[in-house]
Symmetry: C2
Subunit: 420 residues, 2 copies
């Protein structure tokens, strides 16, 4: 049985040829094989000093002056502009703040309002595309990915209830057939959190637009792992978290993308003072700011926000690009599937992650009968993935710090663990 030795040797060669291998040194890692960066990204090594400066000097010494002098006030849009190129957006369209759930609510309610405005007397003012102008149909249905991460579904239900819409869960592949002239908005996940399936963002967005509706994409499991192309594909609104492949830290704030031409029509259900055209004017009447700032709500959580800001520095390195990350991600997941195939007895696990590159995110999900127990034992043996009910072993591959030797080791330890 020479397979293990040869795969280990191959891993060594792949690591030696990996243009991103050196980036691993920018992260705090130990001898654990950490394949849970799709839940919480590892700590970039320079972040602690930056956070210490924010706490000790910016808060401790400058105090209130930091809102201006340390750039606190404008951090949400400034950091949004750092995330923008990672999701294929030009500057001025992404703002950071609040949780993903809260941003789903903003985006979905705003999308429905745009659709209903299109359908009303005014209509046809350059909305999602496909609108036929003039008085259109009543847009009173929201489609939501039936396989979505649950919070998106819960929030979509609330958005539907509060905008007088019906909510219809459909599998992403069935969205084109479910679209109709009552569809106001469609909420989709770019990558399925369980299976790791990458959905067809360009095709589905085009289908949504052809029906005269608005597409809202959740990028939690794709941003920082693969190209998104928000601008290129004409996505209307998008949200995502920053603590997975962007390594922003536990619960670091989420972001909201509103396509530039839709910003004047973005009518937020959470119009807090931070989104006011003149926030320190203390005016009793709300007047929304222009641009991405319109997506802000209340005072931003500066410590979490500036830890994220620091974490994003990794993307400024020459070797690091979304294309390089994607290429390595596919190589890692390919190699993992090969190692699992070689090491794990047939039938013991089944990959629910698509084999086709065009349909694969940066994770591999293996269905396994006793997944919860297996993951516990894997973690005890230093291979950290996670378990998703009822039967999925989930392994995330962050190309910035996961190497091919990690992948080979994970498959080897999995095999040993499954053997009992």
């Amino acid at each position: 049985m020479s397979e293990p030795r040869s795969l280990a040797g191959e891993a060594e060669q792949l690591d030696a040829a990996d243009g991103l291998a050196a980036v691993r040194e920018r992260f705090v890692l130990d001898d654990v094989t950490y394949l849970d960066g799709n839940s919480l990204g590892a700590l970039p090594a320079h972040v602690p000093a930056r956070v210490a400066d924010v706490v000790g000097r910016q808060w401790g010494e400058l105090r209130i002056r930091s809102w201006e002098e340390s750039g606190w006030w404008t951090a949400p849009e400034r950091i949004g502009d750092r995330i923008a190129p990672l999701v294929g957006a030009a500057a001025g369209q992404v703002v950071v703040g609040d949780s993903t759930s809260v941003n789903v609510f903003k985006a979905l309610v705003a999308a429905v309002r745009m659709a209903q405005e299109d359908g009303g007397a005014g209509g046809g003012d350059g909305g999602a595309g496909g609108g036929d102008g003039g008085a259109g149909p009543v847009r009173d249905e929201i489609l939501v990915d039936a396989t979505t991460f649950p919070t998106d579904g819960y929030i979509a239900e609330s958005a539907a209830r509060m905008t007088g819409c019906a909510l219809r869960p459909v599998a992403p592949a069935e969205v084109p057939g479910a679209l109709g002239d009552r569809t106001a908005a469609v909420l989709l996940n770019h990558v399925d959190y369980r299976s790791g399936r990458l959905h067809d963002l360009p095709g589905l967005t085009a289908a949504v637009h052809a029906a005269g509706a608005y597409a809202v994409w959740d990028l939690c499991h794709s941003a920082g792992a693969l190209p998104v192309g928000l601008d290129e594909h004409g996505v209307d609104l998008a949200v995502g978290c920053t603590y997975k492949y962007l390594n922003g830290g536990p619960g670091s704030p989420a972001y909201l993308y509103v396509r530039r031409d839709l910003q004047p029509r973005f009518d937020s259900p959470l119009p807090g003072w931070n989104s006011h055209a003149e926030p320190f004017g203390m005016r009793p009447a709300y007047a929304p700011a222009s641009g991405a700032v319109r997506g802000r709500v209340g005072t931003p959580d500066i410590l979490s926000l500036l830890a994220l800001d620091a974490a994003l520095d990794v993307w400024d390195e020459d070797a690091v690009s979304v294309a390089a990350v994607r290429a390595k991600s596919l190589a890692l997941t390919d190699f993992f599937l090969r190692c699992v195939g070689a090491y794990v007895p047939d039938g013991r696990v089944e990959s629910v992650t698509p084999a086709a590159h065009a349909e694969r995110g940066s994770q591999v999900a293996l269905r396994c009968e006793d997944a919860g127990e297996v993951m516990k034992r894997l973690i005890e043996r230093g291979v950290v993935g996670d378990y998703r009910a009822p039967d999925v072993l989930r392994f995330g591959f962050t190309p910035l710090y996961v190497g091919f030797a990690d992948v080979e080791r994970a498959a080897r330890v999995l095999s040993r663990t499954l053997a009992g």
Copy 2:
């Protein structure tokens, strides 16, 4: 003119007799007279080390394990229970997370839903009080403090729009006369952010209840500075920030109080997965958790949250109690008004903060024609307050770290600054 010398001497005596004087050493302060703790509280000296541990060890070394092992997952309710006694609430009713604006939205929408439920067929199930059971009136009006911090008004407008209510701004004193059988909910500020006026929480809450409506209080400018008595006065819902008198750090998360008996009826407009009865069950249908947890939404911002947790340690000291803080706060503001009266020529400034203790928060607001310019010069001279448009000099007094000598100095420098 012996007044300055004698007030300075009096300040020295007051500081010597101050039971909270030693607490000042727990904060990072310099020779600046910092009277802006009602905007951003000073840094407690032990917070940097705690944050460094959260970043370096909890995130960096334990990574994903910290959600359980470092208590990250339950931090919102655990820290809520630490804030609870400071606002007069028994445990299990306060949860920390999101911004104040987002919490105003949750609280106000939930309050309207309760009122409308009372008025509907089900009604009279122990709601706000004063309900007469059975089919009641249609509750379709929200009253909002017309002098409120603007974000509350903006968010109230959105809450009204999304629940089919009308929004009616009224001055707090006029609330009793404005209440009627269409009133669903009333949003009030405990302390006015500009004038520093303390509103009659017990009386206004009772009036709201007598009308069969729900009272939502914003405690941003009172929590940590004076007794609130949420449980004692039967408040229905409350929100507040933690970066002012609670010193949680820039943009530290806000909190939401839902009175225990109302929790089963708390119907959140932001039902994120963190408020699910079984958050890791990944169930497609939403089922709300019991208790304060029901007010959670998405993944909490751990760095900001745990900095706040550390900051709250100050309240564990023997000398520190809300009563002691309130007594010193009144002594500080009394003394400031006396010093201003003694040092500043008549008519140059006018206090818009009530003289009566029962109507005064922990700040003094002085109306002054050229307030913006005066505050700039004050800050240059090391006295930091803030300016609120159009004509208010605002000075906040945090009894945990402001002393009487600071107060005397601030009035003296103000006088010199006004003299040109």
